[in-house]
């Protein structure tokens, strides 16, 4: 079975490596410009858009996490809401249980919760390929949704949980409450570090094996790699970063609800990837920004029915732009 995107390997992000030497100066210039612009954005943007930029970063991290599976390993996960939601509820549990609320503990709890779920999901779902993998991840996320929705005593059921925002600080040194800008910079720092880490992982020998699974699974197995083990680790890694996105969301929104475990979040994650360009890491973030901006714009025209135009655009992109916005731009620029 070929990869999801009908691209050739040299069309992708790894081409910088394939051309020899480290990543180009142009790449790092672009990187610095984008991160710099995001860091300075709170000074320019009005408050609404400031919050919007922070949200894009968090959803972008979720999108990147699923790109490890969708773009690099060729496994379309329709269950990322489970990891995101468990990260969210894990962080919520830590923020509610420990007085005073501690930021690092919340992030750690979110990661642990997502990791536990990821091990479980990875073990079962990687036994299957293609569509069966998608269906299994979808079913798993639905299981966690039902549990969270009906276990009212612990999770607050439909009403969800509300909690206080933890202060930013280093234990024993200092502790200051988050300002709007401070939170934005914190999220930016975490997302940027995650991006660099994910980028390193996808360019490592491990990442190369994942891409080889995407291109030709039987051959990868024949060469002697334990494909199942690589897939399990890929799902776990992906779940871990999705959980990180979930715990960041908890810190930002001070609210956890079963809606965040619902399938729709997984669907949106897939949309981010397809719109932005699978297998590029940056693409999914761009896709998240594009989707959220589109959602915002269409919500003003179509109100709660914004998913009608968004759904049509998404379907058209699947048909006509299978490489997403980034792949499309890259091809235009190379012409």
């Amino acid at each position: 079975m070929s990869a999801v995107t009908p691209t050739t390997a040299d069309d992708r992000d790894l081409d910088t490596r394939a051309r020899g030497g480290g990543p180009s100066a142009a790449y790092w210039t672009g990187f610095v410009v984008v991160v710099g612009a995001l860091a300075l954005s709170p000074f320019v943007l009005p408050e609404f858009w400031q919050r919007f930029a922070t949200e894009i970063l968090i959803w972008g991290l979720l999108a990147m996490s699923s790109d490890i599976l969708i773009g690099y390993t060729g496994m379309v996960s329709f269950g990322h809401s489970a990891f995101f939601g468990l990260g969210l509820y894990g962080a919520a549990a830590a923020l509610l249980a420990v007085r005073p609320p501690n930021l690092w503990l919340a992030l750690a709890a979110g990661l642990v919760a997502a990791a536990v779920i990821a091990v479980f999901v990875a073990y079962f779902s990687t036994r299957l390929r293609d569509i069966y993998f998608s269906i299994t991840t979808l079913v798993f996320s639905q299981i966690f949704y039902v549990i969270i929705f009906t276990w009212t005593d612990v999770t607050g059921g439909e009403n969800g949980l509300t909690f206080r925002q933890p202060p930013f600080g280093v234990p024993g040194l200092f502790s200051v409450p988050f300002t709007r800008n401070g939170l934005h910079w914190f999220v930016l720092a975490v997302v940027t570090l995650s991006y660099l880490l994910l980028r390193r992982i996808t360019q490592s020998p491990f990442g190369m094996v994942l891409q080889s699974i995407r291109e030709n699974e039987p051959r990868t197995r024949a060469i002697g790699y334990n494909v199942e083990r690589y897939k399990i680790v890929a799902v776990m890694l992906s779940g871990l970063f999705a959980g990180l996105a979930g715990s960041l969301y908890a810190v930002q929104n001070k609210f956890a609800a079963p809606d965040f475990v619902l399938f729709l979040i997984s669907g949106e994650t897939v949309i981010f990837n397809v719109m932005g360009g699978m297998g590029t890491l940056v693409g999914p973030v761009a896709g998240a920004a594009f989707f959220l901006l589109m959602k915002e714009a269409f919500s003003r025209i179509f109100y709660e029915y914004y998913l009608i135009p968004v759904g049509i655009i998404f379907t058209l992109m699947v048909i006509f732009l299978p490489q997403g916005l980034l792949g499309f731009l890259r091809r235009r620029l190379n012409q």
């Binding site: 036994r127 293609d130 399938f263 029915y305 379907t315």
Partner: protein
């Protein structure tokens, strides 16, 4: 100790629900078996079919005419969807079809919400009698649903086995290229199969409509269930998915004796996971020799 009559009532319930589910799932299996398309919008076609049924019912006042109208309208819509959205994807990875149909599902779901609003709509059942089943008054209509579903599935089976165009469909399943070489218009067979699948989803939607309120979110539930059934039954295997539908629905019905219906869904999910562990090719397919 659970009284026996309670178990028996739940078994009847499970069989009735199983037949409805079988009708939805056999459409999904048909589409997958022939085109390698995982139709994520299948549950939404079911839901939209039910809504079209409510509209037709309000206009004509006759349930059976509403059923027929809904089936025809949804068959046309299915054909249109296949031609516009899925035909360009032929030959690409099956995963792109799951993405495209997911987009379609979003559109249909929100269109229904926009057009019909969030309040569930009710179709009046055409058969209102009840009969005594142990401690409950059991509606005859539910038995009618089960029989109708069985009749439609049986009709499909006969059509596939003996009808000229049914043979075309089976030929296309076996070997697309060879079928085309023999003069079978393969692209149109694909369109018609998708239309048949959509029509079956619509029929089940209208039949199921009177037992619950028709609402825009009911589609996803059925998509998920149909997926579970199709995997448990063995993908692309019509008989397997019918047996699996009944099996899954029986499990869920029996589970409602102990837990709430919302939690009973987990039982079918667990059945899916166990199937994947023990027999990933499906519980109801013969072991390949």
């Amino acid at each position: 100790m659970i009284p026996l009559d309670q178990i028996l009532v739940q078994i009847v319930n499970g069989l009735v629900n199983g037949m409805i589910l079988a009708l939805v799932a056999s459409g999904l299996t048909l589409i997958f078996g022939i085109m390698d398309i995982v139709n994520f919008a299948h549950g939404d076609l079911f839901m939209l079919g039910a809504y079209v049924g409510t509209t037709a019912f309000l206009t004509t006042g006759n349930f059976w005419i509403a059923l027929l109208v809904s089936v025809l309208v949804m068959a046309l819509l299915g054909a249109a969807l296949q031609i516009t959205a899925l035909r360009p994807l032929v030959g690409r990875d099956p995963l792109t079809t799951i993405l495209a149909t997911f987009g379609i599902s979003l559109v249909i779901q929100n269109y229904a919400l926009w057009q019909y609003g969030p309040v569930p709509r009710k179709i009046v059942e055409p058969v209102t009698g009840h009969f005594r089943l142990f401690y409950v008054e059991y509606p005859w209509y539910r038995i009618v649903i089960a029989l109708m579903s069985a009749a439609i599935i049986g009709g499909l089976y006969l059509f596939m086995k003996y009808g000229k165009h049914g043979i075309w469909i089976r030929a296309t399943t076996q070997d697309r290229v060879m079928a085309a070489a023999m003069g079978i218009p393969v692209p149109w067979v694909h369109t018609v199969v998708f239309a048949i699948g959509a029509a079956m989803a619509a029929a089940s939607g209208v039949l199921f409509g009177p037992t619950v309120g028709v609402n825009h979110a009911m589609g996803f539930d059925f998509t998920l269930r149909a997926f579970v059934v199709v995997v448990v039954g063995g993908m692309g295997n019509l008989g397997g998915s019918i047996l699996a539908s009944i099996f899954i629905s029986l499990l869920e019905s029996l589970a409602t004796i102990w837990v709430s219906p919302a939690q009973a869904v987990i039982v079918s999910f667990v059945a899916l996971i166990l199937t994947l562990l023990i027999r990933p090719t499906g519980l109801f397919v013969p072991t390949p020799k």
